[in-house]
Subunit: 504 residues, 2 copies
């Protein structure tokens, strides 16, 4: 038994390493690859995907799993049991997918990215549409292979947020819509609007970079086991937990965007760098879900860095870095300015109140794509109409609309809901943490980020895939997902910032 488990583990470790190699190649592609190499790189990723598929679907994996199943769970500790279950799930899914489909998805996902970059530069949705069409078709096939009786979009969501279905998402998103649309309107109509003038101006990119590095390191990012670079779309990628690579992007007219991207990606990076030490290349040690990953980035970006105490701690450094711009700005004014909420076209530039509407829009569009309601050619118009309905603004160009996100260009449909589920998880984690450590805000005010990082390490990062999302939430917060924490947090915070009238 032990021998079969060991054999299976070595095979899965090799697969994990191939996944890490793909991670490095993806990072390279986004950050530093010469433009002329796009086709070659698409080929590399396709070859790797094919090998991974081949190795995961090798009959020897099925045989080893069958051997282990016959004894399961006797003699296996919890870690091993979860590991076996995770491998079983992957194997059972993967043997359903033909290798040609795997390779075409990898190849088109890589090439599609470059076509999207160009279409976005030239504001031509028509250039991207044929790739998008084909990716949707391939993803439909993919979902059908996994379970022909299940709505394809549920299969796609499940790939990022295990166990989540439209049936669960719909009512939660309905509550959010019902609560946030009026809140967004109240904020817009408030006679009090924070001063944000000092956040505009000229901000040297070198100073922004130095500031980002300093803060990322103080939050706990280990630069001996990671890098920070520039890409079109900020992300956290790389190889294994000793090689975690975050990116940001700089504009000289604004330092908030680069800084909060750095903090966000640092949150992702701390999850990866904080993973369990035991058998790091095995499936069970990996991060739990995309939504839980997002909860970690948003924990730092929103729950920690957008609170008043964080501004108190860093105000001196901000002023020292940009003395001309921030002269006479105190941390209260700074706090209000960085928490300004207003509808914007671009998801990644939007604030925590309007962000869920961006997600709900995408969720509804993806639903419509996969249940046949929308054709690809309809999408720019559908997008713009929904923006108008939910946020009261209408994109003038597709760059401000449907061409803005990287996800679809790589075939990542079903990913978006994770962002808002992550935001809700983050808020619920923060509430639980604060109950346990009432001095939490003072820790932030005094820069004791190490203690915060260690709480997350201990409660979330090292747990890998040992628990389901539901059970992790229960273990850490005492209950399953409850969107009320998120809604109460937003109302409470923005009522104060915008001096909104208390509800009767």
């Amino acid at each position: 038994m032990h021998e079969a488990y060991e054999k299976l583990s070595r095979k899965m470790e090799e697969l994990g390493q191939l996944e890490q190699i793909s991670g490095i190649l993806h990072w390279d592609q986004e950050v530093i690859m010469p433009s002329g190499a796009a086709q070659a790189r698409a080929g590399h990723l396709s070859v790797l995907a094919g090998i991974q598929h081949q190795k995961l679907t090798d009959p020897s994996i099925g045989q080893l799993l069958d051997q282990l199943d016959s004894q399961f769970p006797n003699g296996f500790d919890n870690f091993q049991q979860c590991n076996i279950q995770e491998i079983r799930r992957r194997y059972d899914r993967e043997i359903k997918i033909p290798v040609d489909l795997v390779q075409e998805l990898a190849e088109l996902g890589s090439r599609g990215h470059h076509i999207w970059v160009k279409a976005r530069q030239e504001n031509k949705f028509s250039e991207f549409a044929p790739v998008l069409e084909r990716l949707i078709e391939l993803k439909k096939q993919w979902a059908h292979h996994i379970d022909p009786h299940c709505p394809p979009y549920d299969i796609l969501i499940d790939d990022y947020e295990r166990g989540l279905t439209m049936k669960q998402v719909d009512p939660i998103f309905d509550v959010l819509k019902a609560e946030l649309v009026p809140l967004i309107r109240s904020i817009q109509e408030s006679s009090y609007q924070p001063d944000v003038s000092f956040l505009q101006g000229e901000f040297s990119v070198e100073k922004q970079e130095a500031l980002g590095r300093t803060i990322s390191e103080e939050l706990g990012f280990d630069f001996d086991k990671g890098r920070m670079d520039i890409s079109v779309h900020p992300f956290c990628g790389g190889g294994d937990p000793t090689d975690v690579r975050i990116t940001t992007r700089y504009g000289s007219d604004n330092f908030m965007e680069s800084l909060f991207a750095v903090i966000h990606e640092t949150g992702h990076a701390l999850y990866e760098q904080g993973r369990m030490e035991r058998d790091r290349a095995l499936p069970v040690s990996e991060a739990l879900t995309t939504g839980i990953h997002e909860s970690q980035s948003l924990f730092w970006e929103r729950m920690i860095s957008k609170q008043k105490a964080f501004c108190d701690y860093y105000m001196d450094l901000f002023r020292k870095t940009f003395p001309d711009n921030l002269k006479g700005v105190d941390s209260e004014a700074f706090y209000e300015a960085i928490n300004v909420s207003r509808p914007s076209f671009i998801r990644v530039e939007s604030d925590e109140v309007t962000y869920p509407m961006h997600i709900i829009l995408r969720y509804e569009i993806e639903k419509g794509i996969f249940d046949g309601t929308y054709a690809v050619s309809d999408l720019p118009e559908v997008w713009n109409n929904k923006m108008s309905d939910y946020l009261g603004i209408r994109p003038a160009t597709d760059v401000e609309g449907i061409l803005q996100d990287v996800h679809w260009s790589g075939g990542a449909f079903g990913y978006f809901p994770s962002y808002t589920f992550g935001a809700m998880y983050a808020c619920q984690f923060y509430n639980a943490f604060k109950k346990e450590a009432p001095g939490l805000e003072d820790w932030v005010r005094n820069g004791k980020f190490q203690s915060i990082k260690e709480w997350l390490n201990r409660n979330i990062h090292v747990k890998g895939k040992l628990l389901s999302t539901e059970n992790l939430l229960k273990e850490v917060t005492g209950e399953g997902l409850n969107p009320e924490y998120f809604i109460a947090y937003l109302k409470n915070k923005y009522d104060k910032i915008y001096r909104l009238k208390p509800k009767a």
Copy 2:
């Protein structure tokens, strides 16, 4: 038949792509990988090496080759014939090597690099010695598996310079020694020594980088299909011909080192970027040998860039880039200064006259390592004694001696002779080119590098592995390797620069 050939080609293309992936990972390791990721990366390279080995030794390859052999060469064009022969050679060699050995070599070659970097930083040969010892042992095993009846060092040389053996190298190196040792002495004793004072001073790294980029691009490097970065040891690496990555290193007290490294690596890059368009991922389209590759880097670095006409063309740009340092320096003075010859400890900093002695030293040491004459613990002393014998200088530290080169840390024994064979090929190519195009120096003087690049593309780069080195030389120059061109070139050039007495 056609079908078997196609099948085999697809399999080899996949192998070529895996090799390119390794290339990107190696580049990443040398240029940007976080230090903490060394162990993980060693694992990645080992996994890839294992898969490559497994795929190349798959019985299906042998079966396809056997099918093709039965009809060979009927119905195959020259390209296909060479491709089949090249695959046969690789397959026959690879099936002799156990996969464990392949993986240990890949893993230790990657880890060894990091240990070497550290040992070099700390000037501690003892830190590197155990790795070196093990690498030698593994390479001995490797050579023994390939051919137990052949001296291991011949097998190692052959891996870089196909067909070359100690029997051929010895007499050529003896001639070089006999001719160059007196020339080096005459140069040292000459009463005329060029002024090099203006090459020392402060040179902004930003300006050096801009200068390197400009010149590399003017020589023909396509930056849409490549990159230029910084590494400890300059090299040309990357993925396929659309992703060729060169590196250099900068010191603010000297701009020659970075510039000539850029030109050298550009020469390698032009070979890769200039490879045949047909079936680029097949073995036959690859560069011929390490020595021929080196001939291309040295063609540009020495034959083109170290001639007077090159200084004439670029003198204005050099003066414009570093006006304070090069005030009043004309191209004649510049030409003499960049061609100063004097013994130095570091191979990569040495000039074309003394360089072969560095190579002969390493060749003799490698010979002694593999025939059992030297133990690893003897090597620092042996190195220093030989330096003293051949160049009249003795390293004070191992950093200036045995720890200086990257090669052994990755298991690359037998590589060094290629440098000097490359220098001799480059000189012989240049002579043939000049016979064909008597206006060649004027092309250089007028910056017509495109015509030079095209000659190399046409005569060497696109030929891949279609010819043996011997036959390539014969086709391009009318004869096999003749070291007399190199010797005559050096004597003629340095007699003039150093005003040496003409021989009686």
